[in-house]
Symmetry: C2
Subunit: 264 residues, 2 copies
């Protein structure tokens, strides 16, 4: 099923996923709806992880926390089931990737807490609408991501460097890019850095740690945003006995609209 033939309602898309009729990459799906990164951890780590997100809102913009004993995102998608409504899940045991699954029903435990975190799709839509092209989208590739030398603020067992995504922006559009993304603090918001990659510990733009490299043209600056891979990397850093996350590019689609999260 192509994106063109998918329903535009978030609820209907989740229904297709839950009933095994569609399991694609969610970029561009149910346009205008906020999509979420997913991290699921045992309850004994939940306070520390919640505090980590509170202390690091740019890489970890919390949209919703589903408490232990519940599987329903009551705030962002009432009626949904976090165990079945994401196209693919990754399983990590003691910090090691041990497999992918299409349903968490058989893996579920009543002590698991689910964290839904804002993702960059919202501000990317705002950039494109503002006439700022996104090279990775035009190429159909993943955004380039880098581990920086910027430390996150630790909380309990969680600590580690910030991961950023990079998008090349024409010099004359850099100010506009700052303005339009500033409106969306719940989905990473304003850039954390513009220009010189070395200043934030990135030695070679051509070798991203995650995602795909893109050209940065002579009339462009590399612009860096805090990235939703940070909480996942930081969580795995402490080798939790069990953790689930969404499959790459396969986000949870909420009922909330991007516009509802704009600060101005």
């Amino acid at each position: 099923m192509t994106i063109q033939t998918l329903p535009t309602s978030a609820r209907d898309v989740r229904e297709l996923i839950r009933t095994d009729q569609w399991r694609g990459i969610t970029s561009g799906v149910a346009p205008g709806h906020v999509q979420a990164n997913l991290a699921i951890l045992p309850k004994e780590l939940a306070f520390d992880f919640l505090l980590f997100c509170q202390r690091n809102p740019k890489p970890c913009p919390l949209l919703e926390v589903i408490e232990a004993g519940s599987v329903e995102p009551k705030i962002t998608a009432p009626g949904a089931d976090i165990r079945t409504d994401v196209p693919a899940y990754r399983i990590y045991e003691n910090g090691v990737f041990t497999g992918e699954t299409e349903s968490l029903v058989d893996h579920w435990r009543d002590d698991l807490v689910s964290f839904l975190l804002g993702c960059s799709f919202s501000f990317e839509t705002a950039m494109v609408e503002a006439g700022i092209p996104l090279r990775h989208q035009d190429l159909g590739s993943n955004v380039a991501m880098y581990i920086t030398n910027i430390a996150t603020t630790p909380a309990g067992v969680f600590s580690g460097p910030m991961v950023v995504s990079m998008r090349p922006v024409k010099r004359e559009q850099v100010v506009r890019a700052v303005q339009v993304t500033t409106r969306f603090p719940a989905t990473h918001g304003a850039p954390i850095h513009i220009g010189s990659p070395e200043a934030i510990g990135i030695q070679d733009l051509d070798k991203p740690d995650f995602g795909d490299r893109v050209d940065v043209l002579p009339d462009e600056e590399p612009v860096f945003w805090a990235c939703g891979v940070t909480p996942q990397a930081v969580a795995l850093n402490c080798k939790p006995p069990l953790m689930f996350a969404h499959g790459p590019g396969k986000m949870f689609i909420t009922d909330h609209k991007d516009v509802d999260y704009a600060v101005l």
Copy 2:
């Protein structure tokens, strides 16, 4: 010691408090510095309370959480001691007010978690700077506060109605009041309601639930903001075995500046 003779540095004011040389109301003290409401709860309630704040950012804008075993606000006031640097503390046992104290040192337990929450002083400064007068400040009284029929989003054991503060604003300045307070989401931000008190369950503006009544003149609208009394009221609602809070009007003064919290 009057405000005029107090030092302008937050650190120096905290030193005066800690050494018992000054214990006044902190409104207008160390101008430009962010001040914080304080709620201290046992660790077993900390996850639920943190989640409550995450779900209700307008009444409960978290500035910092000091984990169990620590008394230092490392992020907002490194070197300070949360047990001694507030002019007065209130003690609640099983949800009942049982006394006030000038130091928590003798009351401290290693399982206590401290929550610092943004207060309205920051956006009030912004309003005054924008030429919007504040009647309660001009009268030297407390702002009028009301319990509404707006439910907060519950989290674990915490739930209850939102408390709001009301400031009368001249009709031609209402839009400007929305704009200047919108810039400060970390300190309650934009109003939650303008005009008709009945629409949010307030029967009589002349009978505030907390603070002092003020006149609302014929050319003014009552404008309502989410209030930092909400988290305290909600916390007491569940009758925690032990809870400490700041004395009324006697906030914790951080090293951070109001301007650093402006979103734009």
